[in-house]
Amino acid sequence: MQLNGNALCYGDNVDTDVIIPARYLNTSDPKELASHCMEDIDPDFLQKVKPGDIIVAGSNFGCGSSREHAPLAIKTAGISCVVAKSFARIFYRNAINIGLPIIVCDGQFANGDALTVDLAAGTLQNQTTGESYAFPPFPEFLQKIITAGGLMNAMAGGDIA
């Protein structure tokens, strides 16, 4: 699968409190959550984001709370993929479980760079700078969850028994 979008860049330790502040967690409606996505770190996020855009961040992206509302808000806001130097562990598993592609990559990116991600090939191209990066494939076990379309399907199908 190929994903195309422009980069929206953030720093290290982007936590779940800024991705979706707790004051909005009195709902589990994905659309309502998405309407407050990244509000406390980037008030203009919703104006800027176009369907398919890619969040690029530093290390420990998604640290903090276990709230699945965070990857859900990001996915529903139209983000096709999150690229980071590293992910906090609960965000990582939540993204896999709900089918939000995440990529561990340490590259050079600036806001607005045009990116192309090939998940199957494990490549990320920065069309703006001409740089190209390879990222490691997911372990086979996780690949099965992703292929099944998320954890609930994988469990129902006995894919990871």
Binding site: N13, S66, G150
Partner: protein, 420 residues
């Protein structure tokens, strides 16, 4: 192959003799936890997947603690959804207003976790129960849904950092200072995907409340779990709580650790984590006057009886500084009642504190003590991220109950020594 304590518990829950770091496993769960924020999302997933029955109603705990007593109509709808699910699926351990408490204080107190258990919870601070010699870790709502349906969770077997403790804490220095010191040393991603295994002679000198507080914040170092060896104190705690008979696992003497960190407890001082990361710890020699607007003593980190005793000892016969709002939030009903019996509530009210029913409340910026733009709070909670307790331009300083209480009296960040 030698294994860490965590690896041994995981092996026992997936029918394996040995496990190595990095392996992916599907493990059996002894307890699955959710709260009023994460359970509704899990229930959505459970129903969407067409699941009907839960794997074992007795091994699920649903605790309504974050926005309760319901702070608004939407919060009321969320708890209603969980209440109906609990009724429909015969889940007896549904904790509602009146007998609920902050989940990670409540479950150990109710004997719902024992040594050797594998516990997952759709709440990041589920790592708290490592203090009881259990493997416990925070996961997401879809994980919770899958575990409610199948009684299983996928896990990557973690490597471990060994934290060797020696000595004994000085007066007014507590478990909170130990963990803030450790996070300062290794950073908020210093234990990413790893276990923090605490060992050494110093363990015996730490109370169970200290150990629960330390494991609670393992996630603030990025850790998968924190874990303490099982000793006489643990066994006494479990038996008093009426927990299931413990299964005691111990790390092999030659287990491999990714790194070893030594901490001399007797050398530790009070640590305050400055905004906006728990790794920004400073000792009092490292900062000057920081005036404050609010103090919060409570949460799953420091809302236990020993925390309230510590705060009361300092507030006794003193007054909260003018212009400071001091909130005391006992973490469970049992702790609340104990505080009444010991006369702590009278001390708090006489000092000018507001005492709340158990709730997460301000800890996550939910309700019951939200900060305005530019306001500062000293809190015994565990996170000081941007906007955590209110306006994105407010500030949270993480500290022990002793520091929080002294700060309330002096109206600036202070330690008990500054009161004399």
């Amino acid at each position: 192959m030698p294994m860490t304590m965590t690896q041994k518990i995981l092996a026992a829950h997936c029918g394996r003799e040995t496990l190595a770091a990095g392996e992916m496993i599907l493990a059996d769960t002894d307890l699955v936890l959710g709260n009023d924020i994460t359970s509704p999302v899990a229930i959505n997933e459970f129903r969407k997947a067409g699941c009907d029955c839960v794997f074992d109603g007795g091994k699920i705990a649903l605790v309504m603690d974050h926005f309760t007593p319901n702070k608004d109509i939407k919060a009321a709808e969320q708890t209603k959804k969980v209440r109906e699910f609990a009724n429909e699926k015969n889940i007896p351990n549904f904790f509602d207003v009146g007998d609920m408490g902050v989940e990670h204080a409540l479950l150990p107190e109710r004997g719902m976790v024992t040594a050797g258990d594998l516990v997952i919870g759709a709440d990041s601070h589920t790592c708290t129960y490592g203090a009881l010699g259990a493997f416990s870790s925070g996961v997401g709502s879809t994980d919770m849904a899958a575990a409610m349906a199948y009684g299983k969770v996928w896990l990557r077997v973690p490597s471990a950092i060994q934290v060797r403790l020696t000595g004994k804490l000085r007066k007014h220095v507590s478990g909170k200072d130990v963990i803030l010191h450790l996070i300062r040393l290794i950073g908020v991603d210093g234990a990413l995907y790893e276990s923090l295994e605490f060992t050494g002679d110093g363990v015996a000198a730490l109370t169970m409340d200290d150990r629960l507080c330390i494991c609670n914040m393992a996630i603030e170092a990025g850790g998968k779990n924190g874990i303490f060896p099982v000793d006489e104190q643990t066994l006494a705690f479990l038996s008093e709580a009426g927990a299931n008979p413990p299964r005691v696992f111990a790390a092999d003497a030659d287990a491999a650790y990714s790194r070893v960190i030594d901490i001399d407890l007797s050398a530790l001082e009070s640590v305050v984590a400055f905004p906006h990361l728990p790794e920004n710890g400073k000792t009092f020699a490292e900062f000057g006057d920081v005036p404050i607007d609010q103090v919060v003593v409570g949460s799953c980190t420091n809302g236990r009886i020993s925390d309230l005793r510590e705060a009361a000892e300092i507030l006794k016969g003193r007054k909260v500084a003018k212009g400071v709002r001091a909130l005391i939030i006992p973490a469970t009903q049992k702790i609340w009642l104990q505080a009444v019996k010991e006369g702590l509530m009278e001390i708090f009210v006489a000092a000018g504190c507001a005492v709340s029913t158990p709730t997460c409340g301000p800890c996550l910026g939910g309700h019951m003590g939200i900060l305005a733009k530019g306001e500062r709070c000293v809190a015994t909670t565990n996170r000081n991220f941007v906007g955590r307790m209110g306006d994105p331009q407010s500030e949270v300083y993480l500290a022990s109950p002793a520091v929080a209480a002294a700060s309330a009296v002096l109206g600036k960040i202070a330690n008990p020594g500054m009161l004399d």
